[in-house]
Symmetry: C2
Subunit: 520 residues, 2 copies
């Protein structure tokens, strides 16, 4: 593949094309988070939905969930709806259903650029970048390396650049060259200055959560009241499956709930390991773990904006390795979607793969997972671009490749593709051409050809000979060049200088105070 990289340069490359076009690195689709117009794929009948619901309720009623946070336990005790035994909390289905009914079916998140406001729910389909890998891989380095701030910044730049990335999740790679006590300050500064899209806080201790909320507030130029009036950011917590929510996750969850920010809970239930080997059981357990966190949020602030996530896959029973983008993964995602609609809650899913490099396997696994998110009616799709090795590696080539698929999905949801008015059926155009000619030159085509079809930025549609003459470049090497060109030409979104100074001042002050504890 190194050979491919070399040859790529010889061909003049995309940078040359960009220069000829006057600056645009690629021709991408405009910012336009899609609305899912398809009926979801529903493998369960009504009795199947009821069976999984009943399973989730029995887990909550009969077995209970451990809340490893005394404050959360006391809040649930005071709610009057739970039976408490130490850390174990059981809750009856009537109470669960009463509480989750208080959660809105859809809600918005407004980042510092209000044009980037997202709707979570109501058929909206929002894509986010890869989050949290400790490692990084790109074609130039050619091996797995530890994440750095520069790599993190570059992936943030890709997240801002691509219009098909609608929100910026956690750290797109862990910048391990920044000390953990101040890492959140530097990365959030980078995130809030390099992007103007919806941002996220990790629940890793109260100081980090509070710092991030404060930085998002400052970046938005908001009063405390305005910040709390509507979601401006969100968090995502994972239960510690089976059947536990840990201290820092619950702590952050409650802090965001109190301030009315977005709350996503995503159990990580690998069937056969931390959940039953049967997919319906793994989904039922995942829902139980998710719903009890939603209950907690509703007790704290009725109407708190919540979404339930799914991360139900399976392990390879020979090796214990997690599997992603498999048939089981797709069905679990679709089943969770059916239950999310049953509970009238927005849903989060993911774009994932087990592959270690951005090759064919990476694409079939990621494609399966992304399309199953679409089929499930998911509203937020995490890790939608850039993920490799089960989330342990972030890759810019993979990021660029995934964005081509995300654009496919956006275009696929354009009702124009399946319009059936007289102009689209086009009997007159067919009559005009008859049996002898072709459709290239006729007016019906001329009026529409510039917007009629999806135009890829990465797929190479030339024939073999033309492709070979241009260097014979395989997809990841083309993606590498696109990545380099985007970084070279990147311009940060505008930010008021006084806000930037306030943000920098906050970071400086909090660093001087020592940042956050690192005993997690």
């Amino acid at each position: 593949m190194a050979e491919d990289l070399k040859r790529r340069k010889r061909g003049g490359g995309r940078a040359g094309n960009a220069a000829r076009r006057g600056g645009a690195v690629i021709e991408q689709m405009p910012w336009n988070p899609p609305v899912n117009i398809d009926r979801p794929t529903e493998p369960l009948g009504p009795e199947g939905v009821q069976a999984i619901h009943d399973g989730a309720m029995r887990i909550l009623e009969e077995i209970g969930i451990a809340f490893l946070n005394p404050e959360a336990v006391e809040i649930l005790r005071a709610s009057g709806g739970c039976e408490i035994d130490g850390e174990n909390v059981r809750m009856g289905r009537d109470f669960v259903m009463e509480m989750i009914a208080k959660a809105p079916e859809s809600w918005t998140i407004t980042p510092r650029n209000p044009d980037r406001r997202l709707t979570i729910g109501a058929g909206h389909l929002n894509f986010g970048n890869v989050s949290s890998p400790p490692s990084y891989w790109d074609m130039k380095i050619g091996r797995k390396v530890t994440g750095t701030r520069e790599m993190c910044q570059n992936l943030l730049k890709l997240s801002q650049y691509f219009n098909c990335i609608h929100f910026v999740g956690g750290y797109p790679v862990e910048p391990q060259d920044i000390h953990a006590s101040v890492r959140h300050l530097d990365v959030l500064y980078d995130k809030l200055t390099l992007t103007d899209k919806v941002a996220h806080a990790y629940c890793l201790g109260k100081e980090r959560v509070e710092d991030v909320m404060e930085m998002v507030r400052i970046a938005g130029g908001l009063s405390h009241e305005a910040f709390e009036a509507t979601p401006h950011m969100y968090t995502n917590i994972n239960s510690t499956s089976p059947l536990k929510h840990d201290y820092p996750m619950l702590d952050g969850w409650m802090r965001l709930a109190r301030r009315g920010q977005g709350l996503v809970v995503t159990p990580f239930t690998l069937a056969g390991a931390m959940a039953p080997v049967t997919m319906a059981g793994a989904v039922a357990q995942s829902l139980a773990e998710a719903l009890c966190a939603v209950v907690l949020a509703q007790v704290i602030r009725p109407g708190a904006p919540c979404a339930i996530g799914t991360f139900t896959s399976n392990v390879d029973m020979k090796s214990g390795a997690p599997a992603f983008g498999t048939p089981e993964y797709m069905r679990a995602t679709q089943m969770t979607g059916q239950l999310a609609r049953f509970y009238r809650l927005p849903m989060r899913a993911s774009g994932v793969c087990a592959a270690n490099v951005p090759d064919g396997q990476a694409m079939w696994e990621t494609s399966n997972s992304l399309w199953s998110a679409v089929q499930a009616g998911a509203n937020m799709v995490y890790h939608a671009a850039g993920w490799l090795e089960g989330g342990l590696i972030a890759s810019p080539e993979k990021f660029v490749m995934d964005c081509e698929i995300l654009q496919h999905i956006q275009r696929y949801m354009d009702p124009m593709l399946t319009a059936t008015g007289p102009d689209e059926i086009a009997v007159d155009a067919i009559r005009e051409v008859g049996g002898q000619g072709h459709f290239f030159g006729i007016q019906h085509t001329q009026d529409r050809y510039t917007t009629a079809f999806y135009a890829p930025f990465l797929s190479d549609w030339r024939n073999y000979e033309a492709w070979e003459a241009a260097g014979g470049v395989w997809t990841p090497a083309r993606a590498h060049q696109v990545f380099q060109d985007i970084i070279a030409g990147f311009e940060a979104p505008p930010m008021d200088e006084s806000i930037r100074e306030e943000l920098a001042g906050f970071v400086e002050r909090r660093k001087a105070e020592g940042g956050a504890p690192t005993d997690f």
Copy 2:
């Protein structure tokens, strides 16, 4: 990539694994053509279906189709339902609907091995190998080359080997080292001896069609009566869009219709070139071209087993290059599926890509096309394994990679994945593990773990370090090794020696007679 190939060998490789396992090259799923259990994806409402139907009918009524075969024209004239003007045939919608109502909603094809019988229709989902590329590419050769008989044989061996390939389409690559006059004899001999699955005849002149029917009859050990009693093979014809059916295609179509063999008609309507730039118009034209061939078959033999195919995509309006696996392609396939159900006819779709090599682009394009075939409710999926460069290249690596996706689809259709009985919800197992343990060791897992999850034969689920230690092999290089191992260990399916001799004798005699004319 050549480097990857070299490293692959160092790791001991799949052949070593195969030896240790006692001969099986890969662990693949058993022969079991799936039934599609999903509700199709339906972008059109009832009025959209009606609009496309009305468009197709108006094309047939008002514009007409050129039948470039005098015999076909006379048959349609004699039917009393058509208006004939030279080669142009128009037919009213009542006549069309009356004729296509005679076609069965589902039918079977029984090849020489009756265990390989396929049902075409009724929710069945059958996959076929790549057909008809003039060229070949593999990683060892490393460039595009002209197809040969050996390459064709190797691809036939893959078609037989993989249980997820259910029928053998046309020549998996054109063996251009065999003279065109006798090519069909040699390839059909290879196909009928190296495989025992459903086979196909090209409509390329009466001699070829009759030869192939006779060879299929001999291979099946059938009397002429038994051969004609039920389909034992099929053909696929393409209209010459816009609005024409050519002489040899119609000639073969009528010959197979008379003898009760399977009939698939697949217009090749690229929107913007030989069909309207609007997808609904391209679909309407495709349906008109397909339905009139079905009418012809029903006039000749009421109840003749027919299916309509779709090959509606678009051209890149900048270059004229055909696009495959795009959002437009997916929607066109789904719309055609809705209309196929409206007409109560089985449907054919395809697995396609524009990519020139088996890389990421190849996989997202192919994945999009294969899943859209599933979503459309297609019953036959042509080119489901091995296609590159818009059908101009056959590749064994691509074949092997595609089979991993086909196995995904087969497994995805297993109702076990979404079963919701008490054993699957598994509340007792969840109670048993509680909040402290894991599910690996419990009886519920032990009872199910060997069959609970899809087991890939090509995906590498190891972590990066283990993958790297084993040579760091990218997907196409792994696929190349699987290909080599399959060929090295291939065993042809059994055939009665007297039948083989009869088949060889037929080939010899027809070669002595000069084969078929080559003036097509």
